[in-house]
C-alpha cells in the first residue's frame, strides 16, 4: 500500500478537528487499521513521523490498533476470528461467510497533552 498518502489523510482529518490551543497539544493520534487493508504499520508510523516533522503535530505519536479479520458464518451462525486469508468457517468449514471486520481504516480519537 502507499502509507505516505494514508498518513497525509490522517493528518488532514486530525487538523480539521483541532481548535485553538488544541493545535499544539496533541499527544497521540489513535487509528484503527484492519488487516484486510494491506497497510504496513511500521511504514504508516514512519510516514506520519516524516510528514509531521516541524509542524504543530511534531512529536505526537500515531497509535495503531490492528483490527483482526472476523467472519460470520451464514451456515452455522458462528462468528470467528481468522488468522490468514482463508475465508472458511473454522467451525463448520462452510465458505458461505460474511466478513464483519478487517476492512477498517479510521481515525478513532485524538489524545491531548495534559
Amino acid at each position: 500500500m502507499h502509507e505516505l498518502s494514508v498518513a497525509e489523510n490522517i493528518i488532514e482529518i486530525v487538523q480539521e478537528h483541532l481548535q485553538g490551543d488544541q493545535k499544539n497539544a496533541v499527544k497521540k493520534v489513535k487509528v484503527k487499521v484492519g488487516k484486510l487493508t494491506n497497510i504496513l504499520v511500521d511504514s504508516l508510523i514512519f510516514g506520519f513521523e516524516v510528514l509531521t516533522k516541524e509542524t504543530n503535530l511534531d512529536g505526537s505519536e500515531l497509535e495503531i490498533e490492528v483490527i483482526p479479520i472476523k467472519i460470520r458464518c451464514e451456515a452455522c451462525g458462528e462468528n470467528s476470528t481468522v488468522d490468514g486469508f482463508l475465508f472458511n468457517c473454522p467451525v463448520c468449514q462452510s465458505s458461505s461467510i460474511k466478513i464483519i471486520s478487517g476492512y477498517e481504516l479510521m481515525v478513532n480519537e485524538i489524545e491531548l497533552k495534559d
Binding site: I13, L105, V107, N108, E109, E111
Partner: protein
C-alpha cells in the same frame, strides 16, 4: 487527559466522491466496471475485444489509468470509442477524484457501459472505491495458479474473474482447475470467465454477461 472523539474514515473523501460518481451512473443508467489486474494480464486487450464484439449492441466509454503514457487511450481511440486517459505520474492506483474529473470530459448521455481500466496493480486498487458497480479482476494463465492466494484482498473485493490468455495454455505448466479452485477458496461467489484476446475464445460469453447487466439497470 482529554480525548477528542473523531471516528472518521481515513479514505472518507475518496468514498464521498465515489458515492457521487455511483449516483451519477445510476441516474444515467450506466453499468460501470473497475478493471484490475497485474501489469500485462490483458486489460487493454480485453477492452479492445469487448469493443469489437459489442459496439453495435451497446454504447461504451472508457477511462484509462496508467503511470505514464497515453498509449492505451490511443488504442481505444482508434476503435472510435470515447476515452479519457488518466496519467498518474507515479500513483499506483486510481482514486475517485481522478475518475470524477475524467467524466467531465466524456458526454455520458446515452452511454450504457463505462469501463475504468485501473493501473496495473493487484494491491492498492483494492482499497479505492471508484464508484463502480463491480470490480472485475483479470489473471492470465502465465501468472501462476496460486495468484488468488497471494492477493486475497483483491480477489475478495472483485465479483468477476476473467482468466485470460487461454491460447498460451499448451506452452505452460498451468492448471486452470487449480487457479479456479484457489480463486473460489478466497471468494466463492466469483463469476468466472475464460478468455483469449488472441483467438476471441470466451469473449462472447463475457459480452453476453455485460449485456445482461446493462439490461437489468
Amino acid at each position: 487527559m482529554s480525548i477528542l472523539t473523531v471516528e472518521r474514515k481515513i479514505l472518507e473523501k475518496n468514498d464521498e466522491i465515489a458515492t457521487s460518481i455511483r449516483e451519477l451512473f445510476q441516474r444515467h443508467k450506466i453499468f460501470a466496471i473497475n478493471l484490475v489486474s497485474s501489469p500485462g494480464s490483458g486489460k487493454t486487450s480485453l477492452v479492445e475485444q469487448t469493443i469489437a464484439k459489442c459496439k453495435n449492441k451497446f454504447r461504451m466509454a472508457v477511462i484509462e489509468g496508467d503511470v505514464q503514457t497515453d498509449l492505451d487511450a490511443q488504442r481505444i481511440h482508434a476503435l472510435g470509442i470515447p476515452v479519457v486517459q488518466i496519467v498518474t505520474h507515479g500513483a499506483c492506483h486510481l482514486e475517485a477524484n481522478l475518475v470524477r474529473d475524467s467524466l467531465q470530459n466524456i458526454n455520458i448521455a446515452g452511454i450504457d457501459l463505462v469501463i475504468i481500466e485501473n493501473v496495473g496493480n493487484l494491491v492498492c486498487p483494492a482499497g479505492y472505491d471508484l464508484g463502480e458497480d463491480q470490480k472485475v479482476v483479470i489473471v492470465s494463465t502465465t501468472e501462476g495458479d496460486d495468484k488468488p492466494l497471494k492477493y486475497p484482498a483483491m480477489f475478495r473485493r472483485a465479483s468477476v474473474l476473467i482468466i485470460n490468455k487461454l491460447d498460451l495454455l499448451p506452452h505452460l505448466n498451468a492448471s486452470l482447475e487449480e487457479l479456479e479452485k484457489n480463486a473460489l477458496s478466497i471468494n466463492p461467489s466469483l463469476k468466472i470467465f475464460k478468455t483469449s484476446c488472441q483467438t476471441g475464445e470466451g469473449i462472447n460469453e463475457w459480452c453476453n454477461w455485460l449485456e445482461l447487466r446493462i439490461k437489468k439497470l
